[in-house]
């Protein structure tokens, strides 16, 4: 008995930690498929892009077979290329115009106007705004291509009003894609702000009203500070989404006329696939990735999840 107990104890002492360690390792095994996929298709391409941005990799020809190490050449070219400087500028204009100003303010405005309106009006306006959001991106692009074209709806209206017509996609391509993206994305901000405003306690507002605060004053000093976290989160999310918009712009203007609407994603595509300079296109994509990483980093810091 005593020997048996000792033996059992000894075996237990030896195997328990080992078994525990093994169990601890195996219970994290379900993470493996996700890790493999993320490493292969996410981290891998990013690392590869860092490498190939130092080469002259191309889609066809000699550069495709034997990419040569060119050092910082791509980056030197990047920062002296007027198309890239222009692309950065257009991306900033696009994000500020369509996300920060367009979607954000319009979404907040609609959500505020909806408060206290009857159910029917809320439901109808909400459904119309959301329908623009639900349609696939390519379809939105077609719709706006038709709307803003030479014979499009907008020109029919302006002609009827006697203002004259113009090909909006040609004369002001950036304005065209900004309006289209505002139309497409406003629903998201509207839904975020609807949910946020629902959580604003009415008694706080009533107290402010009894204190004699006017509508604007109530909005500015009571409502907006209360929904500040939602505003910050929403701004970060729509900025990140808008930064990578490719399809809408590519289908509507293809970055043209010339490079007049070539934001960084479109420029990256043009360099890599149209002009077959993969190394240079990759350098542009790294630039875009770096900008996105900065915003994403701020976003994580702002959100501070209690992981």
């Amino acid at each position: 008995m005593a020997i048996g107990e000792d033996l059992a104890g000894a075996v237990g002492r030896v195997t328990a930690p080992r078994r525990a360690r093994a169990a601890r390792a195996t219970r994290h095994l379900p993470l493996a498929p996700a890790l493999i996929m993320l490493f292969l298709f996410f981290l891998g391409p990013v690392l590869w892009s860092v490498y190939s941005s130092f080469t002259n990799a191309a889609l066809t020809g000699d550069g495709a077979q034997n990419p040569q190490w060119v050092g910082l050449e791509n980056f030197r070219r990047l920062f002296s290329d007027p198309n890239v400087t222009n692309g950065i500028w257009l991306t900033v204009v696009f994000v500020l115009g369509s996300a920060v100003i367009g979607q954000n303010l319009l979404g907040l405005g609609i959500a505020l106007l909806m408060r206290g309106r009857n159910r029917w009006l809320r439901g109808t306006v909400g459904a119309i705004v959301v329908s623009a959001w639900v349609l696939p991106e390519v379809v939105s692009a077609f719709i706006w291509y038709a709307f803003l074209g030479q014979d499009g709806t907008l020109n029919q209206v302006t002609k009827a009003l006697g203002i004259g017509s113009q090909d909006w996609l040609y004369s002001s391509p950036m304005l065209a894609v900004i309006i289209a993206n505002t139309w497409r994305g406003t629903a998201f901000s509207m839904l975020v702000y609807n949910a946020a405003l629902d959580d604003v306690p009415t008694d706080v507002q009533e107290a402010a009203e009894l204190d004699g605060a006017t509508g604007w004053r109530r909005l500015w000093s009571v409502v907006l500070p209360l929904i500040r976290p939602s505003i910050v989160t929403n701004l970060m999310l729509i900025t990140l989404q808008t930064l990578s918009v490719f399809t809408l712009i590519y289908v509507m203007t293809a970055g043209g006329p010339g490079f007049a609407s070539s934001t960084l994603p479109v420029l990256m595509y043009q360099q890599a696939f149209k002009f077959s300079e993969v190394g240079y296109g990759t350098a542009i994509s790294l630039l875009l990735l770096a900008i996105g990483a900065v915003f994403s980093f701020v976003y994580v810091r702002v959100l501070k999840p209690e992981a």
Binding site: P136, V192, S285, F297
Partner: protein
């Protein structure tokens, strides 16, 4: 709203102004859609808005053939359904240990996942093309589906971990005492409880993939493998004179599945799409 209780003429006037502005906004949002609705029934449609002279369903009939519509829709179903299924299964497996076990690398990993949800996927498409070229995966539908699944993994892991966090661990502890493995606990206790959330993630991933144009546009080449999102673009770009009526009809048919899915999800979640609500700080 309680503040509506006091009804003064001033307030009523303000309410009417608000209603007026809302109606104007709704009209502005509706205006671009009018073209789509009118043109799909007009076989002579151009980019201008006009009532069809001879309303007909000829446009629909013209695009409803295997090469133009049915095969691309089927490809889209395979590609997006496949990637949505992979996403949900892999994300649930990954989310479970992240929700249940405390380890040193858990927090940094979760932060990395959240960070990855914010990165512009568009930006990695050039290197991904290079990777697919090297691995000879260009024009492979399964590989494209797996890549699409990977892009939606971080978001799905994040959401599903949230669902699992809400399942009380005491239920599983009881099953562990009975000798069930953690995987059995996940399969028979946790998954049935979070099934509604999982199906929303599934549908949401599907909707996202269905609308994705850039990924299949870059990674697939053969016309017979392309999903509808790319086919509609080539159809639009290849003809000298665009058949706008057919384009409109095609757009309607291609949009239909996601509109229906959206209605199902939003109905199931009580009117509003709570994903936007999930973004509340």
């Amino acid at each position: 709203m309680a503040t509506m209780g006091i009804d003064t003429p001033r307030r009523r006037a303000a309410g009417m102004v608000c209603t007026g502005i809302l109606v104007l906004i709704a009209v502005a949002f509706l205006a671009p859609l009018i073209w789509l609705v009118l043109s799909c029934f007009d076989s002579a449609a151009q980019t201008s808005v006009k009532l069809p002279d001879h309303p007909s369903i000829d446009n629909f009939r013209a695009v409803m053939n295997t090469d133009m519509l049915w095969r691309p829709l089927w490809n889209g179903l395979l590609l997006c359904g496949g990637s949505a299924l992979i996403t949900v299964v892999i994300a649930t497996l990954a989310a479970y240990p992240l929700s249940r076990y405390q380890t040193r690398f858990r927090k940094p990993f979760l932060y990395t996942v959240l960070f990855a949800t914010g990165l512009p996927i568009t930006a990695i498409m050039v290197p991904v093309y290079g990777l697919f070229l090297r691995l000879q995966l260009i024009d492979s539908m399964p590989a494209t589906a797996v890549f699409l699944a990977t892009t939606s993994l971080p978001f799905a892991i994040w959401l599903i971990k949230g669902f699992i966090d809400n399942v009380p661990i005491s239920l599983e502890e009881a099953s562990w005492v009975d000798g069930a493995s953690p995987m059995a606990a996940l399969r028979y206790i946790v998954v049935p409880l979070i099934a509604p959330g999982m199906s929303v993630v599934l549908i949401f991933t599907f909707i996202q993939a269905w609308g994705n144009f850039f990924v299949p546009f870059i990674l697939l080449q053969s016309p017979e493998k392309l999903p509808a999102s790319v086919t509609v673009f080539t159809f639009f770009g290849q003809y000298g004179a665009v058949a706008y009526g057919q384009l409109a009809a095609y757009s309607v048919l291609y949009s239909m599945p996601v509109v229906v899915l959206y209605l199902i999800v939003s109905r199931a979640m009580g009117g509003a799409f709570r994903f936007a609500g999930a973004a509340k700080g």
